[in-house]
Symmetry: D2
Subunit: 427 residues, 4 copies
């Protein structure tokens, strides 16, 4: 359930125009991200955690058809009645759905048919908006649908990266992207975090997902937060110090995971002729030690922090430092599609480059209650077994994230642009 922005509750022609503009922009952006990929590329599911890009194009369309058109369009009929079953992701209340691990088997409808569906739904949503008959609640759902589609834009990039990485040809998604800069990283500074009673969570002004609220009080002990993300060079020092071979650095489940999977480096690192190479959305190239390390699991982030004599921040600690800071970092709009070396910002990379694992398990805030109905399944039912990540990444659309934004993944997940920001107790 979204926490609608005030804008979403406005009405009148200006509001409609703004909605139509935002809708067009987000929908177009998704298609632009898919454009470098062939129909074959967009068809394949490279692992159960990932989805085919065609599926993302279809599922985001289903979201608008099912949650915006169906309850609001007079005489509604679906573009194709079978698509609800095929492209519902996990909404039990909406009905049964195609099993997640089998999404890649759906060679029909074709990409062309999915694009026709997109056009049809775009036209009909626009008609609803232009007609001005979109009720308040539907405007809120429309806004949720746009934020939802932005989340899938990020997944288009991370899922395509995973697929291309499985190909021995190591093809580039966007040749020329993700180049090394030659710049060095600034020294890591420790920013003081306030102790005492603080407030965290979204205050209701502007859009936020339901899991970001209610805003509430939390007591913090004094702490410090690192001014930038851990770099590849720093992580390499951990590896060279036997990081992946020293059980004392790892959580029990982490030690089990690295042995089970045979991990001895972040995902997409490859040793070639004695040097480390990196697979990026621009293809394979040498490791740049100044760039932030990413594609690490929670276990690796935690072990690195222990090795470094520090720890991961809690999500509350992260938020109270980041909330007042200036947004900084590479986003998808920069079309670099890879984390960049930290710049001079006081709190660098807090709004881009790579998501930052926190030591906080993903759980409901005090007083949290999901909405009734299907949209209540958006966030709440995942609040077990996952860890919170904060910030944003080089694959996140600009403006999508916020200081209160709570991303979440399972501890062993590595295919997102997930990195490390350190914290420590105040002396």
């Amino acid at each position: 359930m979204p926490r609608g922005s005030p804008a979403a509750r406005e009405s009148g022609p200006a509001a409609s125009e703004e909605r139509a503009r935002a809708f067009a922009e987000v929908r177009r952006a998704t298609e632009a991200l898919a454009a470098p990929l062939s129909a074959e590329d967009q068809q394949v599911q490279s692992m159960p955690d990932a989805s085919p890009v065609k599926w993302h194009l279809a599922h985001t369309t289903w979201f608008f058809e099912n949650f915006v058109l169906l309850p609001n369009e007079p005489g509604f009929a679906p573009f194709d009645p079978s698509f609800g079953y095929l492209f519902n992701s996990y909404y039990e209340a909406v009905g049964p759905r195609h099993p997640r691990p089998l999404r890649g088997l759906l060679t029909r409808p074709s990409l062309g048919e999915v694009m026709e569906w997109r056009a049809d739904v775009d036209r009909r949503v626009n008609a609803l908006i232009d007609g001005g008959g979109l009720p308040d609640v539907a405007a809120g759902v429309l806004e949720l649908g746009l934020n939802h589609e932005q989340q899938h834009q990020e997944l288009v990039l991370t899922d395509a990266k995973h697929l291309l990485s499985q190909n021995p040809l190591r093809p580039a998604y966007r040749p020329g992207a993700a180049q090394a800069s030659g710049r060095g990283a600034p020294p890591l500074r420790w920013l003081d975090g306030p102790g005492g009673l603080v407030e965290v969570g979204h205050d209701g002004a502007g859009f936020a997902f339901d899991n970001e609220g209610p805003r509430h009080r939390v007591w913090l002990e004094p702490f410090q937060l690192a001014s930038r993300l851990v770099t590849c060079g720093e992580y390499l020092a951990f590896m060279q110090d036997g990081g992946y071979r020293r059980s004392d650095l790892w959580l029990y489940a982490g030690w089990a995971a690295i042995r089970e999977h045979g991990w001895d480096a972040p995902l997409y690192w490859e040793r070639r002729d004695g040097a480390w190479s990196l697979f990026t959305l621009g293809g394979s190239r040498s490791l740049d030690p100044a760039e932030p390390v990413c594609h690490v699991s929670y276990f690796e982030a935690d072990a690195y922090a222990r090795w470094a004599g520090a720890r991961l921040p809690t999500e509350d600690e992260w938020e109270v430092v980041a909330a007042p800071a200036a947004a900084d970092g590479t986003t998808a709009d920069d079309e670099r599609f890879h984390p960049a070396v930290a710049g001079p910002a006081e709190l660098a990379q807090c709004a881009g480059d790579a998501w930052q694992w926190t030591r906080s398990a993903y759980a409901p805030y005090p007083g949290y209650a999901p909405a009734a109905g299907a949209l209540g399944e958006y966030n709440g039912k995942f609040m077990c077994g996952q860890m919170v990540l904060r910030g944003a990444s080089c694959a996140t659309p600009r403006g999508h994230a916020r200081p209160t934004y709570r991303n979440f993944f399972h501890p062993p997940d590595r295919w997102q642009f997930s990195g490390i920001r350190l914290a420590r107790d105040a002396a």
Copy 2:
């Protein structure tokens, strides 16, 4: 290793012309079979046993490039040096290869690039043939390559059928194909099989795979072979008699398999509103009780035979009856793409419609020795754990099979057009 036909050892312009004609025809036939499928359809691997159609198009091309061009073309260079790794199937002697279950992840090279590769190899093989410089042994390998490609033509159909069946839309490969005929099946007659000392196996005249020889003597007790395949209606009677619930009818491993997989009917049978429906390459339609049952495992064929008071034939029994009989049955050239009701032939369906499980484990004939080198891996190394099937199917190219032809699959395999012909001891 092929057992080359005499034609393969001929030389001169007529032989070259014939070779060129055969080569063109087989290569074109593969592409025609792939044509109804989109690039997306041809991309996906629906299970580890199956391969993407694009992969079949590429692998058959690799076979000619690697085994015909490489050793015979002056100044040979591969079309793309990386394709050898990607499209080698199981030839250890040629080098490492992409893991079989991951074939569907190869979205690059694209279908278009594979088709360019096909054209390049076709042109170069033709140049070799036309130049008349193809040595004897290479002519034999060329003939093997054509028979190899025909085997993959059958897999194009069975693998595509499996993929399309996984789609809840149940799309047709060829709308209009596989229609029910309304004809009834002729009564089953028992043909007498000779006892005594007989000869089986290929005698070396014309092409055969190496596993079909040497021709050798075998002693048989008198037996009888059914004049046609078991029909869907007959199989339905077995099911209605509790066939899948009576442990006494099953081999131990078969009983375990049907419980593990939850099988209670052949593959592609679906119960809809109380009636049985069938998924075919022409889409879903009602079951025709007069058609041969197919897509059954060895276990189901064996259990049915036990229920019917009969047994499966040995491959030798099958061969001595089929060898002198007239070839009969639906093949891929009929473009029906589904088994048809038996006709009036004395030994119906012995050269088409559905492969016929025998009770013979796939093993080397006395005196069998695979060739040295990579082509020795063609057949011999699979001689453990599989059962022999005889005949041919509605997906087999006409003229591909022979009475001595030995097809082989694992006992639980069901995605081939595999059916049942009964045998029994003479009274």
Copy 3:
């Protein structure tokens, strides 16, 4: 790492006597719990999560040999040098060890040999204590060893229960135990929980495990806590209302778990002739609706709470209500070996009967740092992926638990005596 009690730091004859008494009592208690089980019963590991009872007898002995005798006994030599490998549980710093899932294969040493080892270690530890030469730190480790052994006493009961439950004969561990009382449960009352800034965690007086501290401040919103555990009758109403069939009641991972495992009732519930029967340590008998439900996973506890219009407490909420309350509840010393119907206590069952799932993920308290060395592995490395349970159970030795005690298990675990206490936000 233990947080030693002041007593552990005392010295002199009185302290030695007290230590010797406590040591003897705990060691004897373990053997008394094992006594009803035959050597065969004590040999078997019924699942990877459980251990053989013989292994518990040996591992607790290894703990004293390795952590108390080895560093303190002059001229120390192990009873058997191979036992360190066999009976180390998870201490990476001590060295490699026998794989956990294979513990049940160790038919040698025999139970008799393990009992000889116990006697030898008992004798030698007593000699150390009596000699008065036990340094402070060793006295702390001794106390830790006793608390460690008490934890394994609980596992002896839960692991034996699991083993016996796998036997179709449903044998009793202690015939006559776990009888139904015929009493009714008192009505559930809601106790007010204080909001505001509170302190939680162990304050260092008396023994505690390291994960219980440091004591620290937490801000709580006002809430209410149930006066007793959820009963079997109440849980049955949830089941009869379709609890296991309504996806809206479950976390995503919980819904997946109940479908994967086919759960439709708590562990050890069996439907016989239309009525619910329970397997207990006293054998099988009818369900008593007034008793606390137990052997539920976190997922089931969470779903039940949602169905009941309530939620699970956080561990902080639980602690601030329980800390000042009178300890109440059935423990192992009562030899009932099953949760009993709640009595009249203001906060019933807060120190016995069944562990109580909280909604708190098991994580380090602010400022927590595990000790250096092997004993630092005791608790800290498990702080990921598990949920905190509070209270104690009918299998916990009396006096072992505390209001600050943090038990932890994985969300799907059910073989512990784990039950449900509800909480809700203050109106």
Copy 4:
């Protein structure tokens, strides 16, 4: 279904006495083999393929109770009605049974109770025999039961060996057994096998299992059979020649198996300090190069034969050479419990030391029909997916096997005493 010996059909006091003697001897022998093992040793199932020794003691007793007493004893009542469920192995016609992989969880009934059951059944069977009222068919079943129990005697040894091998202490079953002799192996000679029309299979005189008949004609091409088994030294040469690293030596399924399991030597071979050590029923000791290699899978036997320029014999070839030869080889009655170096016999080791893999898949002979009823499940339903082994082993009771005896295991099975005898085509 047994093929009863003529003796089984005799009657009169002498026949009764002989039956009573045989019954007592076989039953006593089983208990003698179990005697060196503690109740704990006899309790554990070390893998799904193996069974606890206590289970073997119970299951063989169930066989007599169910198949001899139940149909013949007036007023029959089972010793314990629950034991039928617990100790039926795989007879679907008798009723449901405890799942095979969970046999090790049955700590009740205790070993003592099982021994009481044995005594009770022994007493009652003896009463039947002595009373002279055992009808012909029951005498045949009694004889089958004795041969059945002898098969389980062999499994007591092989299953106990597997269990003890899993223990890092490597305990001996019988200290002093399985010692190396210091003798050398005689040179391998090639014995000529007759070509032409031969007869194989049991002729009905004396006891045989149903799968050994009917006797029937087979045509063989001329061949040669090795005079003795392959030795450890010869196998070591294969290993040192890269046997486990050369894909060209292996069947496809064998190559997959050795990579999946990480096999690089026979089961129970351990490399210690650069030399090969062997785990035997007498404990661990150095490899003796003159002894027969055993505990190899079919895949290893087949690969070795290919490396050696030979092949495995068919079961028919094996039988026509072995049938007229003098029985030779170490059996369980020798209490060596390990294969011994070949002696001077013309066809050494054909009736002991190690079972010999043949290249014949286990299949029914022409005209084979299992009996009606439960005993028809004895052999027939396993005739798929397994390979025939001939001969006997050092764990087979003397007199149990015959030249027509067909043992059968799955290609990857290694825990039996399975070795290699080579064959080759006649020049």
